[in-house]
């Protein structure tokens, strides 16, 4: 498969079935997807559609039960061992006994970066997420939005080209969320990372992505893949443009189609 070389993530007929006490539950079935380098891919769908599960498979937090997947041209396990991705969870998951800069230092300590290198990377990533000056604070002293930004800084601190984000702004209010979306786009533009982003907000998915993967539940599968025609440069008010609304309506149609049969 030559396409694998250009793909950061490549899934072929991927399936995952959980064995539960109520019998097998199919979380994912027949997923085919390619994520190219530099893509910003959003996964959108109702809860139970397997979008988080798919992200966890990429991160080697879950093992697929059928099909194949490569991450950076290797198995997810090897990709994890190569520390080739940063993962941002739904909650900030900062360690409460570490200051913000010590939290950002956590992966660096584990991966054996030198003290000087750690300090330099902490300063750089704090700058990147607009948290310069907050390094010495403990997590509880920061707002929810700032905590989530710190957790993004932590995922950016080491040299991973792939950023996996599982509804990172889901628990935040609309205004903070808009602001963070704007910052995230800017960051993606500056760092040239590949981002896989799980969300259940249509505007968020359309605003951020170069590619939108629409998923539907029972069993979790991909129903539509939409390539965005929006330019790379995206001011917030692009969300009122006809082009934006057209993509949004296509996403909505995709979600509805996935849902209709079980109603």
């Amino acid at each position: 498969m030559t396409s694998n070389l250009a793909s950061v993530v490549s899934a072929r007929d991927l399936g995952l079935t959980f064995q539960t006490s109520d019998g097998p539950v199919t979380a994912l079935t027949g997923v085919n997807l390619d994520v190219k380098k530099g893509d910003f891919v959003s996964f959108i769908g109702p809860s139970g559609c397997g979008k988080t599960t798919f992200l966890r498979v990429i991160a080697d937090l879950e093992k697929p039960t059928s099909g194949s997947i490569t991450v950076n041209g290797t198995t997810p396990e090897d990709a994890r061992k190569n520390r080739s991705y940063g993962y941002v969870f739904q909650a900030a998951a900062l360690y409460p006994w570490r200051t913000i800069e010590k939290n950002i230092a956590l992966p660096l300590e584990i991966m054996g970066y030198s003290k000087a290198e750690q300090e330099q990377r902490i300063a750089r990533t704090l700058e990147l997420v607009n948290l310069a000056g907050f390094g010495k604070k403990f997590p509880w002293q920061l707002s929810g939005g700032m905590q989530q930004r710190a957790s993004i800084a932590r995922a950016l601190a080491f040299d991973a080209d792939l950023l996996l984000m599982d509804e990172p702004f889901g628990a935040l209010d609309e205004i903070v969320r808009d602001h963070l979306n704007e910052q995230l786009l800017e960051l993606w533009d500056r760092t040239n990372k590949t981002i896989c982003f799980v969300t259940h907000s249509i505007p968020e998915a359309v605003y951020l992505s170069t590619k939108i993967v629409v998923m539907s539940p029972r069993p979790g599968r991909v129903t539509d893949v939409i390539e965005s025609t929006l330019p790379r440069e995206r001011p917030l008010d692009i969300r009122e443009s006809p082009e934006f609304l057209e993509i949004a309506s296509r996403v909505r149609d995709g979600l509805r189609a996935g849902h209709s049969y079980d109603e």
Binding site: R80, R83, Y95, P96, I110
Partner: protein, 290 residues
């Protein structure tokens, strides 16, 4: 204001308890005075009995001031190396308590680490840890002393081991819970970093378990003291607070018993307070929200 809020209720209760104690002392010590008067063929009025119940040599219940006087006398008026010094006896018990507490803490933590990291240990060890505490310590203490004596271990260590026997338990239970307290998301994070088990332990499980450890330590230090005192009872020990209690009960020296009891309680309070201070200091360093 806050000081007054704290001190006032405590002081009120102390005063009420002392009042109850005096009433009880009069009530419990009065029969002896009536018997004495009866044997002498005289009658005695209640107002004559009351002052006498305050100063008996071997009262059923010594009055508070008798106990305080005894503690004062045996603490400050005797050289600390004297067998009559309460400080001397307290130190004997304290040293066994601290050694037992130290061993119990290390043992408890090691067992908890094993239980958390090893499924077989979790299944096989935990029931025994719990079973160990269902055996009355008074029953097992003489056995431990006798067995250890037979293999040539005497003195401080057997008593300390009884303290250990009691104190390792809250440490194991607390630390198993503490080491398992990290959330799945925090563990997943370590997994994504490909962290080694040792890194996950030292950077996540160990710091996360600190509040649990200190809560356990507070319980453990108090029962270590109980263990050391119990360890002194069946051996006919000549020194230590337990020996003071035992000797006091042999000779009906209730004032001595009560002063040993109060010394033990004061010792426990100081030890728990020290652990509590360490607890606060560690949590403050770990940035816990005040």
């Amino acid at each position: 204001m806050t000081m007054r809020d704290k001190v006032f209720p405590v002081l009120t209760i102390v005063l009420i308890l002392i009042a109850i104690w005096y009433v009880a002392a009069i009530y419990l010590n009065a029969p002896f005075e009536r018997d004495t008067a009866g044997r002498a063929g005289t009658t005695i009025t209640f107002s004559e009995i009351v002052p006498k119940t305050m100063f008996q040599e071997r009262p059923v219940l010594p009055a508070p001031h008798q106990v305080i006087a005894e503690i004062w006398d045996t603490t400050f008026n005797k050289p600390v190396t004297s067998k009559r010094s309460l400080v001397y006896h307290a130190w004997i018990t304290l040293s066994a308590t601290l050694v037992g507490f130290g061993i119990g803490t290390v043992l408890g933590i090691l067992l908890a680490v094993g239980i958390v990291h090893n499924r077989a240990m979790d299944r096989s060890l935990m029931p025994w840890v719990i079973a160990s505490q269902t055996i009355p310590i008074l029953a097992i203490a003489p056995m431990i002393i006798v067995v250890l004596n037979a293999i040539g271990i005497a003195g401080l260590l057997p008593k300390a081991l009884i303290s250990t026997y009691l104190s390792f338990f809250p440490i194991v239970v607390g630390m198993v819970k503490g080491l398992r307290s990290p959330e799945q998301i925090q563990l997943d994070l370590m997994h994504t970093y490909y962290a080694s088990p040792a890194q996950t332990f030292w950077k996540l499980r160990w710091p996360a378990s600190m509040p649990y450890l200190f809560t356990s330590l507070k319980v453990a230090i108090a029962i270590s003291l109980v263990g050391a005192i119990v360890g002194e009872l069946p051996t006919g020990a000549v020194a230590g607070l337990g020996a003071r209690l035992l000797a006091g009960s042999y000779y009906g020296q209730t004032v001595q018993i009560w002063s040993a009891l109060f010394m033990a309680a004061a010792l426990a309070a100081v030890l728990v307070a020290i652990v509590g201070t360490a607890h606060t200091a560690v949590l403050k360093r770990m940035g816990v929200k005040p």
